[in-house]
């Protein structure tokens, strides 16, 4: 999986290392470097430099990271996979662990409740991302016009994303409270929707969590789109104007394709995060009413840390991980293919 090609770059096809702008060719600062090597992206030094070989330096640099990740991410993951085939319960340390084969998986896949949780998660992920993309991209386009004071307003828009999701969930319960909170009053001020309860209504609660998540993370998508927009070189638009292409045409054939890789990256990050979502929703609705907003992670926490069914919850965790991993894999391949075009 070549990650280099997934990183967004200018549309002239030069991706990978040394993603310099065409107009930057002449701006190499350090004297003499230009004459010795071209802007080569592939040649790598293998010579010895004072003591350590390059190979050992490389491993020295990478090893601490890999070791830490192995210890704290991979080893637990493998342990989780092992536990998923047992009936272990973490609140009974003395009891011997029994191997039960695929019984946990069978129970999970046969349980209609579990499909409900996955459905709730899918609804949340899809709609929150859709809204964030529309709003975020729209905002980025508008901010890119560089009206007066746009820097300050941009900074203000960024504030929601800097809060702790758990705290956000908590104070939005306060805002959504029909009597003491301002949300209902404000909505009725503009629309006159009458009496309703955002987080107490079975139909509205899934939208409440989408709304709060969108409020929180639209700035993130906006930021990434803005970066994408800023990366489009001016000369391309100038060339299009020379060709007398309309603004609409410019938008669709220049702006969108060049921002799309950035956008898709933002979508991937947000989708991964929202699939794992726990703290915001658990504080906002506790998974209620009933189980309509009980996301996969919330159920996982209940199984693992309230009921202490460690083996069963490990199986659920493995299923979730495999799902995200598989989806991300496919997505990154798609992204790469898009980059080649």
């Amino acid at each position: 999986m070549d990650l280099e090609t997934t990183m967004p770059g200018p549309v002239d096809g030069r991706s990978g290392q040394g993603r310099a702008m065409p107009s930057d060719d002449a701006r190499v600062a350090y004297s003499g470097a230009e004459s010795r090597r071209g802007a080569s992206a592939t040649a790598r030094p293998i010579a010895r430099h004072r003591g350590l070989t390059d190979r050992s330096i490389a491993w020295l640099c990478i090893a601490p990271t890999l070791l830490l990740l192995l210890a704290i991410n991979i080893f637990p993951l493998l342990w989780t996979v092992y536990l998923s085939f047992t009936d272990y319960r973490a609140n009974r340390p003395g009891v011997p662990i029994e191997w039960v084969g695929t019984r946990n998986y069978e129970r999970l896949l046969a349980s209609e409740d579990v499909w409900g949780y996955l459905q709730a998660t899918a609804h949340f992920v899809c709609w929150s991302i859709a809204l964030q993309v529309i709003l975020g991209f729209g905002l980025a386009l508008l901010i890119n016009r560089q009206f007066k004071g746009h820097a300050t307003w941009t900074t203000l828009i960024l504030l929601p994303m800097m809060l702790s999701p758990a705290v956000v969930g908590t104070f939005w319960t306060y805002l959504f409270q029909p009597q003491a909170g301002i949300f209902n009053y404000m909505v009725n001020f503009f629309i006159g929707a009458g009496d309703f309860t955002m987080i107490g209504d079975v139909n509205l609660a899934p939208w409440a969590i989408v709304l709060v998540d969108t409020w929180m993370w639209t700035p993130y998508v906006m930021l990434i789109c803005l970066a994408g927009l800023r990366s489009i070189p001016q000369y391309i638009y100038e060339a299009a104007e020379v060709d007398r292409a309309s603004a609409w045409r410019q938008f669709w054939s220049i702006t969108v394709p060049m921002v799309l890789p950035f956008l898709m990256l933002a979508v991937m990050f947000r989708a991964i995060e929202n699939f794992k979502m726990f703290d915001l929703v658990v504080e906002l609705t506790s998974g209620g009413p009933g189980s309509v907003t009980e996301l996969a992670s919330i159920n996982l926490k209940r199984e693992a840390f309230e009921k202490w069914r460690t083996g069963y919850s490990s199986a659920f965790a493995v299923i979730l991980f495999v799902t995200v991993f598989g989806a991300a894999n496919i997505y990154v391949k798609l992204l790469n293919r898009m980059k080649q075009r």
Binding site: G18, R50, Y237, F278
Partner: protein
């Protein structure tokens, strides 16, 4: 946040600019309303905060902040009369509500833990991430693409799922509820992001610079410090902001793996109970105070933030 030297803006008419401006300002104002309301709530009394209809005009007080930092208990007026007069302004405020301060709350301790664990893990993630990114970028590492995807995939596991075996592992190792345990955990989660981002930055620093430096006699290590790091500093700053935001605001691990000693602020703020329900002014006060360091950090480094996302499309 205007950083770029060659803005690629579609040439906009003044009218278009004004329309764009008003739409953005409208969105900014609407999205700020909840924050402004919470900020206002931090200056209400607890009964004002649950009044209905909600009070827009009210008498401000710092009771929320005092409640955030203290534990109190309600007493009868007779008992209060028997006590010596209050010595400080906040004691006086509390007494006026027929309560006495029984001691400081845990907020300062939690905030302090957040500072240690948040900044500690950010520093470590950026440090190790820079090293690893340099390694991946400059050297031919076997299986590089796969290793990089593997590093990214460590972020795909739901925190709750990782928490189960980490809980068991830390219990064995005695790392439960310790600062070190949490710093290591947060670092490893942030590494996936930091390696990935930093590799992008370091990739775009032409290796010619280092080559030239090494030809001039510097060792690779010196070249790293003298050439690569300064060039990468905006990328490092951007990565640091993202890592800090994540570590600072993390909830699930802090909830499940810590209790008295190493618990950070996010599990603490949503459960500040007043005399009935949540003490909303105190929760609002906690939210405001907790937001400050991040805002400060971001404002100081805001020039680097946008640059960071760009992965270096534009350079001076």
């Amino acid at each position: 946040m205007s950083v770029d030297s060659t803005p690629s803006v579609v040439a906009a008419t003044p009218l278009a600019r004004r329309v764009a401006g008003s739409l953005v300002i409208a969105y900014a104002l609407i999205s700020m309303i909840p924050l402004v309301w919470i900020f206002m709530t931090s200056f209400k009394t607890p009964s004002d905060s649950i009044a209905y209809p909600p009070k827009v005009v009210f008498e401000p007080t710092v009771e929320g902040y005092v409640n955030l930092f203290t534990n109190r208990s309600r007493q009868t007026p007779e008992y209060l009369a028997s006590l010596p007069p209050p010595e400080t302004w906040y004691e006086e405020l509390v007494r006026s509500r027929n309560m006495v301060i029984t001691g400081p709350s845990r907020f300062v301790g939690r905030y302090w833990n957040s500072l240690i664990i948040g900044f500690g893990s950010t520093f470590l993630a950026v440090f190790l991430g820079t090293l690893a990114a340099y390694g991946f970028s400059r050297f031919k590492v076997p299986g590089e693409g796969d290793l990089l995807f593997f590093i990214l995939s460590t972020r795909m596991m739901p925190p709750i799922a990782v928490a189960i075996p980490i809980f068991l592992m830390y219990r064995q190792l005695g790392l439960s509820d310790t600062h070190l345990g949490m710093i290591l955990l947060y670092t490893s989660v942030n590494l996936s992001l930091s390696v990935w981002l930093l590799k992008g930055f370091i990739d775009e620093i032409p290796r010619e610079y280092e080559e030239a430096a090494m030809v001039d006699g510097y060792s690779r290590l010196q070249a790293f410090f003298r050439v690569v790091l300064p060039q990468a500093r905006t990328g490092i700053a951007a990565t640091a902001i993202f890592c800090l935001i994540w570590s600072w605001n993390e909830y699930a691990f802090a909830l499940l793996l810590t209790s008295g000693t190493a618990q950070t602020a996010p599990p603490f703020i949503p459960i500040i109970i007043g005399e009935g329900g949540l003490d909303w002014p105190a929760v609002a006060a906690g939210t405001t105070l907790f937001l400050l360091p991040i805002v400060l950090f971001t404002v100081l480094l805001r020039k680097h933030l946008l640059r960071g996302i760009t992965f270096g499309a534009v350079r001076k």
